[in-house]
Symmetry: C2
């Protein structure tokens, strides 16, 4: 990491979240495949389509800062993904597994919300209004995805898991 | 992980966040020590005192479910902490480092917000109102700490980093 300025930090953090989104395009289908609740499966699959757009928006931001899109291994995501994998592998009861999958997906959403919030604020500070708007759009979609998972957990998933 | 019911999942997730809070009691002072902005240092130190209360509240929840407080290694936290450590070690400019420290602290706050939100909802589903209230109280403090860091970043830290 050769970070000497806020521009450098912005670029490094952009590579971090780009890694996360690219990984998610492959790992959300795995979570969806293991979900037994049709509502949870639908929510994950519709978030996959959004995630593909998030990758595209990040590439637009790389373009704005005149850099080639590149990913940097994100240790935080690796830890979050490892926890999600454990859930899938080690919980046999499908309803309890659904509650755990929804919770794991929310930890990942929260990581993304935090990163997009930070990046949008830094973009504004660096007078990159177009980049800030792209990042803010994705931030709002991550928040909405998190709220959808909360509602789903409260209305369906947790109740079945507790039955 | 021997998770067969929502009760088991609640207990496992409680051990996960207990690990995080206990680790934070030791790692927040390290972040505060490396912060150069007095406002950021203050915010981290005041969150340390809250974190000590969070540990205490979790011990009360273990007591409610008749379990001995115990921690389980949280892979997600390990990843988040590794990212925070990299920032401290690899950014020399103190103002840019402050912006990165505030952002890293927010990724950890977001992990906690996600876990406390989930645990409070599960506690309600399992008819443990007292546990739900303890978890909800900490959730509100984590949200407030995150908002304080956002405000601090926007008002002081990022501006100095961009100068």
């Amino acid at each position: 990491m050769a970070v000497k300025s806020l521009d450098d930090l912005f670029h490094e953090t952009l590579k971090d979240i780009y890694y996360v989104e690219k990984k998610l395009v492959r790992s959300i289908p795995k979570l969806a495949k293991h979900a037994s609740s049709p509502e949870l499966k639908d929510a994950l699959e519709s978030h996959l389509r959004e995630t593909e757009m998030h990758v595209d928006r990040l590439e637009q931001v790389f373009n704005i800062i005149d850099r080639r899109p590149s990913a940097k291994k994100c240790e935080a995501y690796e830890g979050l993904a490892k926890e999600a994998d454990e859930v899938i592998e080690e919980i046999d009861d499908p309803e309890v597994c659904d509650a755990a999958i929804a919770a794991s997906a929310q930890t990942i959403e929260h990581y993304e919300m935090s990163r997009y919030g930070t990046l949008a604020t830094w973009a504004k500070e660096l007078n990159m209004q177009d980049a800030a708007e792209l990042l803010e759009t994705t931030l709002q979609e991550e928040k909405a995805a998190d709220q959808k998972l909360s509602a789903l957990a409260e209305q369906h998933v947790n109740h079945r898991a507790a039955a």
